[in-house]
């Protein structure tokens, strides 16, 4: 009984960290979507240099841990004169990292759009560029909705990593509470449950979005 009461007692304190998590997740997702689409376009472009740069970026991001990337941005960049506040640094790190993974989603979604759609657009007088933006990319969004949603949920959970770069998100808040009260079990159980409370509804939304997308496809 004590355990449950203690756990419940921690929640209000942890809830103060939720706006930070929302800020991190939305900011980083916006960055990742835009950058991810640009990387995907670079990867399928005819220009060799663009393809090379995009592929290099992808390999660097996927070949190093997100935790290391965050630490690098926050602790190493200041040594070359670029100091970034914790929350913007977290948004930047998460965004740059997820952009790489989302670019793969976009790329395969773009390539999965039937060639007949492109031919129809061209035959109606769309230029190749207009075909890409007006016909292919909008349809690829429908296909990528589910994977994007899943990456978003993963990102929400990965915000916990920003605790190491001084972002006062849920885990960092729990750490602080723990150092003050030593109710380790109650505090971290509450933190885990809070992540669940956030991510479970998100998973439901993703499932519904996917089903909707498939119905119209």
């Amino acid at each position: 009984m004590d355990f449950i009461t203690n756990t419940l007692a921690v929640f209000p304190a942890l809830l103060f960290a939720v706006p930070v998590v929302v800020q991190l997740a939305l900011g980083a997702m916006a960055l990742a979507l835009v950058l991810g689409l640009l990387i995907a376009l670079a990867r399928i472009s005819n220009i060799k240099i663009l393809r090379g740069i995009a592929t290099f970026y992808l390999e660097v991001i996927r070949g190093t841990p997100l935790l290391v990337q965050l630490v690098y941005i926050f602790f190493v960049l200041p040594s070359i004169g670029v100091s970034i506040e914790p929350v913007p640094a977290g948004i930047l790190g998460l965004g740059l990292n997820y952009a790489a993974y989302l670019s793969e989603v976009f790329r395969s979604a773009i390539l999965s759009v039937e060639h007949g759609q492109t031919e129809a657009a061209l035959s109606l007088g769309y230029t190749p560029t207009k075909t890409l933006w007006k016909v292919v990319i909008p349809q690829s969004f429908v296909v990528s909705m589910g994977p994007i949603g899943n990456y978003f949920i993963a990102m929400v959970k990965d915000t916990a990593l920003t605790s190491v770069i001084a972002v006062t998100e849920i885990l960092k808040t729990a750490n602080i509470l723990n150092s003050q009260t030593f109710q380790t079990t109650a505090i971290y159980t509450a933190a885990a449950i809070l992540y669940l409370i956030i991510s479970l509804p998100l998973s439901r939304i993703v499932v519904v979005l996917e089903r909707k997308a498939r119905a119209n496809g």
Binding site: E114, G116, Q117, E119, A120, A121, L122, S123, L124, G125, Y126, T127, P128, K130, K134, V135, P138, Q139, V142, A215, N216, G217
Partner: protein, 278 residues
């Protein structure tokens, strides 16, 4: 060139080259391991006049689709010339040869050529109305209300006034093809090209599409139709063109082609379709 010439195809050659780079050596040298060349069009000449309805017949693989696709530059050509309304499509003439023109110029010229595909190729994320409005808005830059004022009568003309809000997934094959026809027509092209518009349809849906095409022909639209529907071709076409192995072997009015075919390939084609006794 006579004034009423809409399409002029002159000595067009087209070869498909497929390469496979399978060995390490061919990848290192950049030379293909296997290079397969198929000459699909071997010198095709064809003139289409304003208001004419042309039906192209021919056995499978004879190059009918390829010819049609070359006319609006969905395929490249190696030699020859194709003019639509007096303009080369996809190319500029330079020192007696052809060089590729800017994609935006080709796009502009394509607005004058309607194309109807065997598999409809409707935009899957748009309703029937959305499909017809899309090119009016995106290509012709019309306002939503202007586009709608053009799209609605076109959909009504193909008999889909009550299906305008349906997505392609909620339309039958015949309905999808009629939307595709309305979409092409709404751009007011000076010629419509049909590539086997009924071949992907269940037999009971063929009729509704053919009657729409017939209606358009009667309105005086210039059309080139690739089809296996012999009876339909006979009824609707001003001129029948028969292709075999990349060339046009025979052309003439249906009355002549169907009753007194000159070329053995035409006779073979017609007897296979049960029009002529074997």
């Amino acid at each position: 060139m006579a004034d009423d010439t809409i399409i002029e195809v002159r000595d067009v050659h087209k070869t498909f080259v497929s390469e496979t780079k399978r060995t390490l050596w061919s990848r290192l040298t950049g030379r293909p391991h296997v290079e397969k060349r198929v000459e699909v069009l071997k010198g095709v000449d064809l003139v289409v006049h304003r208001g004419e309805t042309i039906a192209i017949l021919g056995s499978s693989g004879s190059g009918k689709s390829t010819l049609l696709r070359c006319i609006n530059k969905l395929e490249t050509i190696e030699a020859g010339r194709i003019y639509v309304n007096g303009h080369l499509i996809g190319y500029e003439e330079r020192d007696g040869g052809l060089i590729a023109e800017k994609a935006s110029i080709t796009a502009q010229k394509r607005t004058d050529i309607g194309f109807v595909f065997q598999h409809f190729n409707l935009f899957l994320n748009k309703t029937a109305l959305g499909n017809v409005m899309a090119p009016l808005r995106d290509v012709k830059k019309l306002s939503a209300s202007e586009a709608r004022n053009i799209a609605v009568p076109n959909l009504e003309m193909v008999g889909l006034g009550d299906k305008m809000e349906n997505y392609p997934s909620k339309l039958s094959g015949g309905q999808k093809q009629r939307v595709a026809i309305a979409r092409a027509l709404a751009m007011e092209p000076s010629v419509m090209l049909f590539d086997e518009p009924t071949s992907a349809l269940d037999p009971e849906l063929v009729g509704e599409v053919l009657s729409v095409i017939k209606k358009i022909a009667q309105q005086g639209t210039t059309m080139v139709i690739v089809t296996h529907e012999m009876q339909f071709a006979r009824e609707i076409a001003d001129r029948i063109v028969v292709m075999d192995q990349g060339i046009i072997v025979e052309e003439g009015p249906p009355s002549q082609i169907f009753t007194a075919p000159q070329h053995p390939k035409t006779r073979a084609l017609l007897s296979r379709s049960g029009i002529l006794p074997a």
